[in-house]
């Protein structure tokens, strides 16, 4: 089953987004990660790498990210990881919800879950 990692500058934001996405996620592995590792705002590649490993059961991991350095640090973590992981170019919360739903599809693949996450880019609210 494709796993999901939610990366935010704020550990609490990542946890909150996972909480929202988990409602629709069935058995999908959802790992929140965020913060600078010293209780402050930021992101650290090692921690993102650990979250990717925790979310991976062999079918790969889609990584949702918030801003700037989260993208870069996730990029580093993906490069260093042994798991098959991809970053979705998507809004972090909406993308995570879409990906969580997509991951519960029995025929889901890494690509299909990422595509669904990225479909959230065009989501209209009004």
């Amino acid at each position: 089953m494709v796993g999901l990692v939610v990366v935010s500058h704020s550990a609490r934001a990542a946890e909150g987004i996972v909480e929202v996405a988990a409602e629709m996620a069935g058995d999908t592995r959802l790992e929140p990660v965020g913060g600078d590792g010293q209780g402050g705002i930021g992101t650290v590649p090692d921690a993102i790498g650990d979250a990717i490993d925790a979310a991976d059961d062999g079918d790969g991991v889609v990584v949702l990210v918030d801003l700037g350095s989260a993208v870069m640090n996730a990029d580093v973590a993906v490069e260093l990881s042994d798991a098959e992981a991809v970053i979705a170019d998507a809004p972090v919360l909406e993308g995570a919800v879409n990906a969580a739903v997509a991951a519960t599809d029995p025929s889901a693949t890494l690509d299909s879950v990422r595509e669904q996450a990225e479909a959230a880019r065009g989501m209209e609210k009004l």
């Binding site: 600078d36 402050g40 580093v76």
Partner: protein, 238 residues
């Protein structure tokens, strides 16, 4: 790896000098970053470089490549912002160019690879008001000074530092297109980029330590080419 040499010890000295300089400039960097960013650049860099200096000091008789890799990895795990992957990740990546030790030629290759990785990771180009604006003129000037003008390494380095300084000045009147400052749009115009400023501080320390190690004075040069007559200087900065 323990085929340490004088280059390895020199790089450790550079890292210690950079850590001290960044610590001394910490509040200035944070001030620059509070104007257009999230006010964490000074603190993040100071914490990262202090840890990097500790890690470099703990190495047993390392070569230059080992020091660069160790410092890069430490910055990646300790900085906690975009500067981790940009300054640290690129250092790990570019250290591959030092397989055969530190020479003027390998230093050029290292600098070019470092610049490419920073551009690639940050998806930034010259004119985006980022580290790339200081790094690009420095790397280009260093490469040309070594490869085309055949200048001594210390002189090439001094020219690169002057080029970086011009690059930092260039970030002031332009609009940020990457990084946190880009969220400010036009309000980013008129502000000096903190990341580019850190690049300058780092290069200044590289130059100072290199001069010290060679027991030489820092050459009094600027980034303009010796082949350009003095009266054309003012037109050379476009």
């Amino acid at each position: 790896m323990s085929d340490g040499d004088s280059a390895g010890a020199a790089v450790v000295a550079v890292v210690e000098a950079v850590a001290a300089r960044i610590e001394a400039e910490r509040s200035h960097l944070t001030e620059l970053d509070s104007a257009i960013g999230d006010a964490d650049h000074g603190g993040n860099m100071a914490r990262g470089w202090a840890a990097a200096a500790d890690a470099a000091r703990d190495l047993d008789d390392p070569d230059a490549q080992t020091v660069c890799k160790t410092v890069g990895k430490t910055l990646m795990s300790e900085v906690g912002g975009a500067s981790g992957p940009l300054f640290g990740g690129s250092l790990v990546f570019a250290s591959a160019e030092l397989d055969d030790g530190l020479t003027p030629e390998s230093a050029v290759a290292f600098a070019e690879t470092y610049l490419e990785k920073v551009q690639d990771r940050g998806d930034a180009t010259v004119g985006d008001q980022t580290v790339v604006d200081a790094l690009t003129p420095a790397v280009h000037t260093f490469k040309k000074s070594i490869e085309t003008d055949d200048l001594p390494p210390l002189e090439a380095l001094a020219k690169a530092v002057d080029a970086a300084e011009r690059g930092v000045a260039f970030t002031v009147p332009i609009r940020a297109k990457k990084g946190r400052a880009s969220y400010l749009g036009w309000r980013s115009v008129g502000h000096q980029d903190p990341g580019a400023t850190s690049v300058l501080y780092i290069l200044e320390e590289v130059l100072a330590v290199a001069a010290e190690q060679m027991d030489a004075a820092v050459p009094d040069v600027d980034a303009t080419s010796p082949t350009i007559p003095d009266d054309a200087d003012s037109e050379d900065e476009a």
